[in-house]
């Protein structure tokens, strides 16, 4: 059997509203459940009385259907995912670019002691990785980073208002 927190979490997960509205609903449902507990009801009895998380969420979704709330919910969700993906890809691209430039531009290795080299290894470059390519890679990473930051900023600005 789920506890109070799990019950509230499952309700909120299924409600298609903005994050700010979810926070409002969280406090109200929490107050509601605690009031019922004060009246002597157990969490099992409360769940039976109120209904499954899906049923409670469906009632909210019904009330918010055909309103802008649904639109805002999907916009926020898209911004959150896009922001996370763009920021991750930009960091990954930067790391790959740096590693690529470090290893692929280096073609001579010297192994030896202080008295002189004992072994010189010359390797062929698997692909040509010029400083120009390195710069282009960094530009792409920066563009992805800027778009990622823009998504995050718009998301938080929207979260504050709606």
């Amino acid at each position: 059997m789920m506890n109070k927190e799990q019950y509230i979490k499952r309700i909120l997960k299924s409600i298609k509203v903005t994050d700010k509205t979810k926070e409002r609903i969280r406090y109200d449902i929490q107050t509601e459940i605690e009031s019922m507990e004060e009246m002597g009801l157990t969490i099992e009895e409360i769940v039976l009385k109120k209904g499954s998380p899906k049923k409670v969420a469906d009632e909210f979704n019904q009330s918010y259907s055909n309103t802008k709330m649904r639109e805002w919910h999907y916009t926020q969700k898209t911004l959150k995912i896009a922001g996370a993906v763009l920021l991750s890809v930009s960091v990954l691209a930067f790391i790959c670019n740096t590693l690529g430039s470090t290893f692929l531009m280096q073609d001579v290795s010297i192994i030896g002691g202080a008295d002189g080299p004992t072994n010189i290894i010359v390797t062929e470059k698997p692909i040509s990785y010029s400083p120009d390519l390195f710069a282009r890679g960094n530009i792409v990473s920066c563009i992805l980073l800027i778009f990622g930051i823009a998504c995050v900023v718009i998301y938080y600005a929207m979260k504050k208002k709606k």
């Binding site: 409002r24 609903i25 109200d28 107050t31 605690e34 019922m36 969420a57 469906d58 009632e59 009330s63």
Partner: protein
Amino acid sequence: MLNMMKGATDLDFKYEQQFKKGALEMMLLSIISRKRTYGYEIILNLNNAGEPLFQNIKEGTLYPVLYRLEDSGLVISELSTSENSGRAKKYYKITDLGTSTLQEMKGFWQSYKNCIDKLMES
């Protein structure tokens, strides 16, 4: 005088448009105007009133209306510690704007009701 009449007509028109969905808003404002209260207490109030129309009201219907009232500045919510349990609860209380809007709504409701009654009787 003409402006006053126009103002009254505009107001009536506004309420007429919103009346169906506004009935619950008026009910909630009226309950909250009596004392600071929280969602579950409002549900119990409506359920125990014995009126079938509002007897089975659920949180999924109630809270979106409360949020609309709050966004319009008619009520405010606050987290406050309960006297009985010491736990923090979310309470709603009416604002000055809410009180005056409730009076306007009641006035409109009365004239609307009188008009319907008169038409039904004739």
